[in-house]
Amino acid sequence: MIFRSLKMAGFKSFAEAAEIDIESGLTGIVGPNGCGKSNIVEGLRWVMGESSARQMRGGEMDDVIFAGTEQRPARNLAEITLELDNRKRSAPAEFNNSDDIEITRKIERGKGSSYYVNAKPARARDIQLLFADVASGARSSGIVSQGRIGAIVGAKPTDRRALLEEAA
């Protein structure tokens, strides 16, 4: 499975729709402090099924919905779509019948999240399994959040087990 693009709207500081193409090789993301770079990393974890608001640096999951600025009112909906290329047919059976897979997660203020795979409703569980099969997912060791690079070294030996499982 290949990651192709991430589309965000109403998620954290991305009030307006934004799309990041994920191409092969090295894609750099730059910008001043506070402009929204780490929000993208959280957006990727979120669409892959992250269930903890703390991982999103918030107090509750509604904190990921655009909260407004001095000029703009808050939103009540946030939505992220991750486009995957599945031409190599490596997805789990129930999703493996098409070339493209679009994972969408929506959240409405006060009403919780809903997931869709190619526009059909799905459960968080299905999404998490989809990614576990390809050694990725919301808690993958290959996604390193800001300030957390030293965490592997500082962790207890049993906490590092997940690394081995990802390698298997």
Binding site: M1, I2, F3, K12, S13, F14, A15, E16, A18, E19, I20, I22, E23, S24, G25, L26, T27, G28, I29, V30, G31, P32, G34, C35, G36, K37, N39, I40, V41, L44, T69, Q71, R72, V134, A135, S136, S141, G142, I143, V144, S145, Q146, G147, R148, I149, G150, I152, V153, G154, K156, P157, T158, R160, R161, L163, L164, E165, E166, A167, A168
Partner: protein, 164 residues
């Protein structure tokens, strides 16, 4: 399950030793499974000693040395079982210039050996210059993130403009 885990442990360990050696320009490092009778329950111990230094507890390593050791482990796992994506959010922040160069060399290496796609968030000019493409994020309207695709000169300019 047990066979597979032991096999992948051995492979990760091989890669880790080689990557550590490359990143530090020497030194020794290895991974060990802690003494659980059942490998499926065991923890992962890391032994690392930069060139010329005695093997000590990991917590005594410096900020930059810990970041490099962690990168060696992450990439060792990648080489054993490549993930489709890798996202690194300012992992080069604690590194001095010569280690930023080594980090970028390693990124280039891994990326040519696997199909993994990398998103690298950085403030370092040298790291920016080594990317295949750059996205800039600005906040022309305060508090609202906007994405623009940029070349290196523009990226440096965006980097320097304050949000305010």
């Amino acid at each position: 399950g047990r066979e597979r885990l032991l096999k992948s442990f051995a492979e990760v360990n091989q890669h880790f030793k080689a990557l550590f050696n490359k990143l530090f320009g020497g030194g020794t490092a290895e991974l060990q499974l802690t003494d659980a009778d059942d490998p499926l329950e065991a923890g992962l111990e890391i032994l690392a000693s930069p060139p010329g230094k005695r093997l000590q507890s990991l917590s005594l390593l410096s900020g930059g040395e810990q970041a490099l050791t962690a990168l060696a482990i992450i990439f060792a796992v990648f080489l054993t079982n490549p993930a489709p994506i890798c996202v690194l959010d300012e992992v080069d922040a604690p590194l001095d210039d010569s280690n930023v160069v080594r980090f970028c060399d390693l990124l280039r290496d891994i990326c040519s050996q696997t199909d993994t796609r990398f998103l690298v968030i950085t403030h370092h000019r040298m790291t920016m210059a080594r990317m295949d493409r750059l996205f800039g994020i600005t906040m022309e309207q305060r508090g609202i993130s906007k994405l623009v695709s940029v070349d290196l000169q523009t990226a440096e300019r965006i980097r320097d403009i304050a949000v305010a």
